[in-house]
């Protein structure tokens, strides 16, 4: 294990300890009046950030490591959310507005019994399986179609954008029986415990953190195997990979499906904590927003996306409150600046500065031959 990777693990472990150990502890056991107390709201918001971090990793695995800019990750994210949301909707029971066993929107639409495809969702296990199964199936079918006909680069982006757009149109419809415009909200219980209570939120938060940690280490392992090598080779020159006798289709398909599953888990955790899911989460814009996180944090690394997701969303939380009119301008400009001037994102700032320092201060150094880097795209 190299020194750098040992350092990385140390940093990850420290951050994980702070986020998963210290923060919940301060929330649970420190009195509210104390300076060190962390409010339930903060825990909830950080839970959301961590769920976004999971989504960001899924984007990065595709974009940063395989060169596939998928604008469909928001679709998989929301699908995961919808699948868990269906279970949570059923768990509301008779506590809804209409005091019916059916979810409110179904009563509102004039339904008297539960549609067949809703029924299995009474079981959390089934819902959890569907969180994985549905996005993975859709991504497998779509990916197979797209990769087989060698759709790549921007065409892949445009097609995934169309897929997401079409799906959001579908979910906006009431007769889809998935809540239409309003989606699902007003959840009450999960596994019998009250979703709005601080304790449940804390448990969900810790769980999200653990999942994020698991995803991080899983992807870290994956990208360091031989598979990861091929993956990056595809990013840098797909043609050469093909000529070397690898079937790029299978590799790309595998990564695409895995990413869909990761995004879906993030979505499910997001919905449990934020308590609402509707089709506006499914638009191509949301996918692009996740791409912004990755770009800002630093693509091609696994820490970058998480840092980006937390930073950009913290910025968003602040800006939509303090300067609501300028938030989109800020986001757009941030994106422009990062793409134009900081292609490797925020986490590359130290190394950029270090390079600068080395070149400026320690000028008399033998110029080492820079490796030929091919452009990452197309």
């Amino acid at each position: 294990m190299s020194a750098q990777s040992r350092r990385e693990i140390w940093i990850a472990a420290t951050v994980a300890l702070v986020l998963l150990g210290v923060m919940p502890a301060l929330n649970a056991w420190v009195p509210e009046s104390s300076f060190f107390f962390i409010s339930n709201f903060t825990i909830n918001v950080w839970g959301k950030y961590l769920a976004y971090g999971i989504l960001a990793i899924s984007v990065d695995l595709l974009w940063g490591y395989t060169g596939l800019l998928s604008l469909g990750q928001a679709l998989f994210f929301s699908l995961g959310g919808y699948m868990l949301g269906m279970h949570l909707m059923l768990m509301i029971g008779k506590l809804g507005q209409y005091k019916s066993d059916l979810p409110d929107f179904l009563v509102f639409l004039g339904h008297t019994y539960l549609p067949a495809f809703w029924r299995p969702f009474y079981s959390l296990t089934f819902a959890a399986v569907m969180v994985f199964l549905l996005p993975m199936t859709i991504s497998a079918v779509f990916g197979l179609l797209a990769f087989r006909s060698r759709i790549k680069g921007v065409y892949f982006s445009i097609l995934t954008q169309a897929l997401t757009y079409g799906a959001s149109l579908m979910f906006f419809r009431n007769d889809m029986l998935m809540g239409g415009n309003n989606g699902f909200t007003d959840f009450k219980f999960m596994l019998g415990s009250d979703l709005r209570s601080a304790a449940t939120q804390r448990v969900l938060y810790i769980f999200t953190g653990i999942v994020l940690l698991g995803v991080y280490f899983g992807c870290r392992w994956l990208t360091r195997t031989k598979f990861g090598l091929v993956q990056r080779a595809i990013r840098d020159s797909e043609t050469r990979v093909l000529f070397s006798g690898y079937s790029a289709v299978q590799y790309k398909l595998f990564v695409f499906v895995i990413s869909a599953a990761i995004a879906a888990v993030g979505g499910a955790l997001y919905v449990a904590q934020v308590g609402i899911i509707n089709p506006s989460e499914m638009t191509p814009d949301k996918s692009l927003e996740a791409v912004v996180w990755v770009a800002v944090g630093g693509r091609g690394t696994l820490v970058g996306p998480i840092v980006g997701a937390v930073l950009v969303n913290a910025l968003k939380s602040w800006a939509t409150h303090a300067i609501p009119d300028l938030w989109l301008i800020l986001l757009g400009s941030l994106f422009l600046v990062v793409v134009l001037f900081l292609p490797k994102g925020i986490i590359s700032i130290p190394s950029v500065l270090l390079d600068f320092y080395k070149r400026r201060i320690k000028r008399p150094e033998p110029a080492e031959p820079t490796p030929v880097t091919t452009s990452s795209a197309l």
Binding site: T239, A295, S375, L378
Partner: protein, 562 residues
């Protein structure tokens, strides 16, 4: 003494008809003055022959435009008020019966306040009597459009009493469309006839006419018994066949027009994306730039415009144009929309895109950032809501040919798309600039070696593409809403159109735009559901790319990566 005088006056007015024919105004004035005696009022207004004057008077009465002045002797004097108000809100009054100014004893014209007077009232019975007079009189209206509307209304009433009036018009009616409607109305009314033969004949006539409007009445008839049932069923079948035709041609027209809209929106993209290979997610915002330019031009021609972006205050002057001059605003807006969007595009190319020519994925992301910023700028400048762009009168009418509605604006878009396409082909094929563009797009390095200033050609090509988007915006402003997210609603479709057509082939874009437009409209017609149609089109496109991954028209190249 005074009472006696009034009585004598009353006698005179009652006795006068014997001496000379009363004008409609006098009769109506008398009827208005009768107030609550509805029966007498109806008798009076029915005694008059329909004339334009009567119609305007009755309409005025119905809409509360006739006012009553309380005279000292408790009787009421009907007056009209002129539109112009003075500083106190008072209006000059005219006597209803003569149209002369209402003057006091000294002959000085009086000015009255509308809120002091009570409007002449009408009850429902009187109003329905008025309506039937107005409807029947409308049959003879000088303007063909209002005649048509009146005939349709009378026809739907199926009132046998109105049959003679309708039949009377058939001999004198010259306008083919109105005559068609007249025959339809007569047949429709005759369905109510007591004689089975008349009903059967009417059914047959309706079938021949392909009367869509009569379907409900005919369906009612099928529930009765007798020979008319069979006739009604046959007529319904004929109408059904006619309807299929109408739907077919209607769908064809709508598909063509939607295809043209797509084409106009996608042509700019076909230049920037297809020829240059730049993914410009801000293309939609270029469309919006064109649309907002049209809006600003319209406001300058009309009422003026005040904008307050970022606390600044910009007031644009108003030309206060009306009539044909106002209608001209669109002619001015078209080139301006092109120029503004082209300049915006050139700015974008200089500041962002030129750094990203070799990184298409990154240009996608950067331009998306630009599109967010621009959208928000629109919101801050023009407000988050849609703005109103009124079509000039020469674009807001429509023709109805055999029940197929053809809107002038849609027709115009089709024609305009054709003009732009021809223009682009001319530009690319016949001009030196076009030659340079093609050279640079085919092989940038080689063109540069030959001394082509590729930087400048890039600039101009991008400007052209953006300008075309601006033109699209000017047109979309005539068809749909203009708002900050206008561009977003077209961008996915536009990209799809270019990809399906084959990137780099303008010819392909034309085919795919028209194809997608037709498919979309056909699916909408068949499924009766626009959203589902759209979803199916998207799914269809994804499957189509399985079959032809490079689109309809493949631009061949020796490059490996393409």
């Amino acid at each position: 003494m005074r009472r006696l005088l009034v009585f004598l006056g009353f006698l005179c007015t009652v006795a006068l008809p014997g001496l000379r024919a009363e004008t409609p105004a006098e009769v109506v004035a008398k009827a208005v003055a009768l107030e609550d005696k509805t029966d007498e009022q109806i008798a009076l207004i029915k005694s008059l022959a329909p004339s334009p004057e009567l119609l305007s008077l009755l309409t005025l009465w119905k809409e509360g435009g006739i006012f009553l002045v309380d005279l000292p002797d408790k009787s009421k004097l009907p007056v009209l008020l002129e539109e112009a108000k003075d500083a106190d809100g008072k209006q000059a009054a005219l006597l209803l019966q003569s149209g002369k100014p209402y003057a006091d004893a000294d002959g000085k014209p009086l000015r009255l306040l509308a809120s002091d007077l009570s409007a002449a009232e009408t009850d429902s019975e009187l109003r329905s009597a008025m309506k039937s007079i107005l409807d029947l009189a409308g049959l003879a209206a000088p303007d063909a459009k209002s005649r048509l509307r009146a005939i349709e209304i009378v026809g739907m009433e199926q009132d046998l009493a109105k049959l003679p009036a309708l039949k009377e018009r058939t001999s004198s009616e010259l306008d083919a469309e109105v005559k068609h409607a007249l025959l339809e109305a007569i047949a429709l009314t005759e369905l109510k006839s007591a004689e089975p033969e008349t009903v059967v004949a009417a059914c047959r006539a309706l079938g021949e006419l392909g009367s869509i409007r009569s379907q409900d009445a005919l369906r009612l008839l099928t529930k009765e018994s007798g020979p008319q049932v069979k006739a009604a069923v046959e007529a319904l079948q004929k109408i059904e066949r006619h309807l299929v035709n109408v739907n077919f041609w209607g769908t064809l027209f709508r598909g063509l027009s939607l295809g043209s809209v797509l084409l106009v929106a996608a042509l700019g993209l076909a230049v920037t994306f297809g020829l240059m290979g730049v993914i410009n997610m801000a293309h939609g915002e270029m469309i919006a730039v064109g649309a907002y330019t049209t809006y600003v031009v319209q406001c300058v021609f009309g009422p003026g415009l005040e904008l307050s972006p970022f606390g600044l205050h910009i007031a644009l002057p108003s030309l206060k144009a009306t009539g044909w001059l106002y209608d001209c605003y669109f002619v001015v807006a078209i080139p301006l929309a092109f120029i503004t969007a082209a300049l915006a595009g050139i700015l974008l190319e200089r500041t962002v895109i030129r750094f990203l020519y070799r990184r298409p994925l990154e240009s996608l992301l950067a331009t998306w950032g630009v599109s967010l910023v621009v959208q928000q700028l629109f919101r801050l400048t023009f407000g988050a809501n849609n703005v109103q762009v009124a079509s000039p009168s020469w674009l807001s009418g429509n023709w109805t040919i055999h029940d197929v509605g053809i809107g002038w604006n849609r027709l115009f878009v089709i024609g305009f798309a054709a003009v732009i396409v021809v223009g682009i082909f001319q530009l690319l094929a016949r001009t030196p600039l076009g030659l340079l563009m093609r050279a640079v797009m085919q092989n940038r390095a080689m063109a540069a070696c030959m001394g082509v200033r590729t930087e400048r050609v890039n600039l101009l090509t991008f400007g052209l593409g953006s300008g075309l988007a601006g033109l699209a915006g000017a047109f979309l402003s005539q068809i749909g809403n203009v708002g900050p997210s206008l561009g977003q609603s077209y961008i996915v479709d536009a990209f799809m159109t270019v990809v399906v057509g084959g990137v780099g082939s303008i010819f392909g874009t034309i085919f795919s735009a028209l194809g997608i437009g037709m498919l979309d409209q056909t699916l909408q017609q068949v499924l009766g559901n626009p959203v589902l149609g759209k979803i199916l089109v998207l799914a269809g496109i994804i499957l189509f790319l399985q079959w032809r991954p490079a689109g309809l028209f493949v631009t061949r190249s020796r490059s490996l990566e393409n």
